[in-house]
């Protein structure tokens, strides 16, 4: 399956991927409204985390692991592996906000929703024709959406 691969050799830590992510997951699909309104009002947050150390940085998000620890840890059936697409799928309606997945994922790819007992996790921009928004927004080719298996 195609996954998002971050490359720390190219990442410049600009956080544009985060902005693209919140825009893609917003109601308005408008960067300014998403950032200035939905982020504060609805707790809209990016699925990506950008880590920086000196001049090295990297933007990570859910790896959609073949055998995900989050699915093993989920007590509600809110996370499962889609055998057809290979994606690790999150069902918000089933989630009870126990944070077991956040604890179990050793890749730190799961966030708490700022205001609700729900999680935030990359869905590879499901349904978005152009593919993941973060990859499209990356100005230095540090994020690649590729089939590598």
């Amino acid at each position: 399956m195609k996954r998002v691969y971050p490359d720390k050799e190219y990442c410049i830590g600009c956080h544009l991927c985060e902005l693209a992510c919140i825009t893609a997951h917003s109601k308005s699909k408008d960067l300014i409204i998403a950032f200035r309104e939905e982020r504060l009002k609805d707790g809209l947050d990016s699925c990506k985390k950008v880590f920086e150390k000196g001049d090295t940085c990297v933007a990570i998000s859910c790896r959609h692991c073949d055998e995900p620890s989050c699915v093993a840890a989920c007590i509600s059936g809110g996370l499962h592996k889609d055998p057809e697409t290979g994606r690790t799928v999150y069902d918000r309606n089933k989630c009870v906000g126990c944070w077991s997945c956040l604890m179990a994922c050793p890749y730190g790819a799961i966030k708490r929703h700022p205001t609700e007992s729900k999680i935030i996790k990359c869905d590879l921009c499901e349904g978005r024709e152009e593919g993941p928004a973060c990859v499209q927004a990356c100005p230095n080719g540090a994020l690649k959406f590729e089939e590598r298996d």
Binding site: Y5, P6, D7, K8, E9, F51, E52, K53, T56, C57, V58, I60, R63, E67, S69, V71, A72, A73, I75, S76, G77, H80, K81, P83, N93, K94, V96, G97, C98, W99, S100, L102, M103, A104, C105, P106, Y107, G108, A109, I110, K111, R112, R148
Partner: protein, 428 residues
């Protein structure tokens, strides 16, 4: 039948998903003692609290079983296993052949002998039926006493309280959550519960359950001489492996069903997983029963793949718990209460009572082997990485971890690349 699974909990789901990774065709039969579809056992506290409805209990939708070609025989108990003839007998009088059998019968509540505990209105809180009974009871009762201040006891108490019942939790040891957490974390959680209005009493337990001449429950006599009036008692001391079936079938049992590193029991073609199994522990390299959700799934998954013919070694159990008390989240992973007299362990703890934030990190030589987080839990996964992948923590990285800022850039370069960017062609 190619695959038969006894038990219909999370280990069983792990096994189905493990088998289907390898073998998409041969039929799987799941035999479950309870009548309901596989549900998230921890969810019964959410159900009792009224946070979710019964429609949200199922761990997998009905179509999962159809798509996975799994048939279910629910409300059925296996009463005997003949490991020579490779058949199981059920309480419905059926005998079923298996090629590969998984025993995932889970745990049963441990009930200490308390005089008066036999009779009405004494419950455990480990299955759906108990939760449903307590929901209907909650409307007509005033007070409940919960015996046991571990995770199950606290969650039972919290949910009953949410139903308008006055709750007192009794814990024999000096503090609640003595297994999974330490003193500071327990104190933060206890304070939170007290604040909301639950009563938590430590260092005391139930001596006798008082009943009247008709046998109706009246209250609980405590070991300190006190008497607590109540309408129901919930006994939540813990669970023990439900291994009687295996034992009487001649399968090797110690504290749980003994399994090797492929989750195989001592009987050919018979595997075990979950709370009933005594499997390899990741950190201690010895076999232990660790009745924890994630382990149950992982062991089932590993067993499933091996049942389907793969050769997969179990990576080892890792104790981990994530649980919130009225909005105060707590997480505990790995070794959190190391032996005090062992110099190889080093503990760093940061407590901010005002902010209700606590962080405890346990190092063994130069490895992080466990941690506790209360309040600020957002970096949990990044700590888990160091525990789970057993990566050494160099001095500069340690400073950053101690500051509460673990990240992926601290990982060894090769491991980072294999994880995040495998197969990339490096420019010259």
């Amino acid at each position: 039948m190619k695959y038969v699974i006894i038990g219909n909990g999370i280990a069983s789901i792990g096994a189905i998903e493990g088998i289907r990774k390898v073998d998409a065709e041969n039929e799987i039969l799941v035999i479950g003692a309870e009548d309901s579809p596989a549900y998230g056992r921890p969810l019964i506290s959410y159900l009792l609290a009224g946070k979710i409805g019964p429609e949200r209990l199922a761990l997998r939708p009905q179509e999962f079983y159809e798509k996975s070609n799994v048939s279910l025989k629910l409300g059925t108990r296996v009463i005997a296993i003949d490991t020579k003839k490779k058949i199981v007998a059920t309480d419905k009088g059926e005998t079923l052949e298996y090629e590969n059998l998984l025993i995932a019968t889970g745990g049963i509540p441990f009930t200490p002998p308390i005089p008066g505990s036999d009779g009405a209105d004494v419950y455990n809180f480990t299955n759906l039926a108990h939760a449903q009974t307590l929901i209907s009871k909650a409307k007509e009762i005033k007070r409940a006493v919960v015996i046991g201040g571990g995770l199950i006891g606290l969650k039972a108490g919290e949910s009953l309280f949410d139903r308008g019942v006055e709750v007192t939790i009794l814990e024999l040891s000096p503090r609640i959550l003595s297994l999974a957490f330490d003193e500071n974390a327990a104190s933060l959680a206890g304070t939170r519960l007290e604040e909301v209005g639950l009563h938590v009493r430590c260092g005391v337990s139930a001596k006798e359950i008082q009943r009247d001449a008709e046998g109706s429950l009246k209250g609980v006599h405590l070991t300190d001489g006190d008497f607590l009036q109540c309408d129901v008692v919930v006994i939540a001391i813990g669970v023990v492996p439900n291994y009687d079936l295996a034992k009487k079938s001649g399968i090797g049992v110690d504290r749980g069903i003994k399994v090797d590193d492929h989750m195989r029991t001592t009987a050919e073609g018979v595997f075990a997983a979950g709370d009933v199994a005594q499997a390899r522990d990741l950190l201690f390299r010895e076999d232990r029963v660790i009745p924890i959700w994630t382990n149950a799934y992982n062991q089932g998954f590993c067993a499933g793949k091996n049942m389907a013919g793969r050769d997969i070694t179990f990576t080892g159990s890792l104790a981990m718990n994530s649980i919130s008390f009225y909005g105060l989240p707590t997480i505990s992973v790995g070794t959190v209460n190391p032996p005090e007299d062992d110099d190889a362990y080093e503990v760093a703890a940061f407590l901010d009572e005002k902010k209700r934030s606590y962080r405890k990190l346990v190092f063994h030589n130069d490895h992080l082997v466990g941690y506790v987080l209360v309040g600020d839990i957002d970096m949990a996964g990044m700590y888990t990485a160091f525990v789970k992948f057993q990566m050494p923590v160099p001095e500069d990285a340690k400073k950053q971890i101690l500051a509460g800022e673990p990240d992926v850039l601290m990982w060894p370069d090769d491991f980072f690349k294999d994880t995040w960017n495998p197969g990339v062609v490096e420019p010259d």
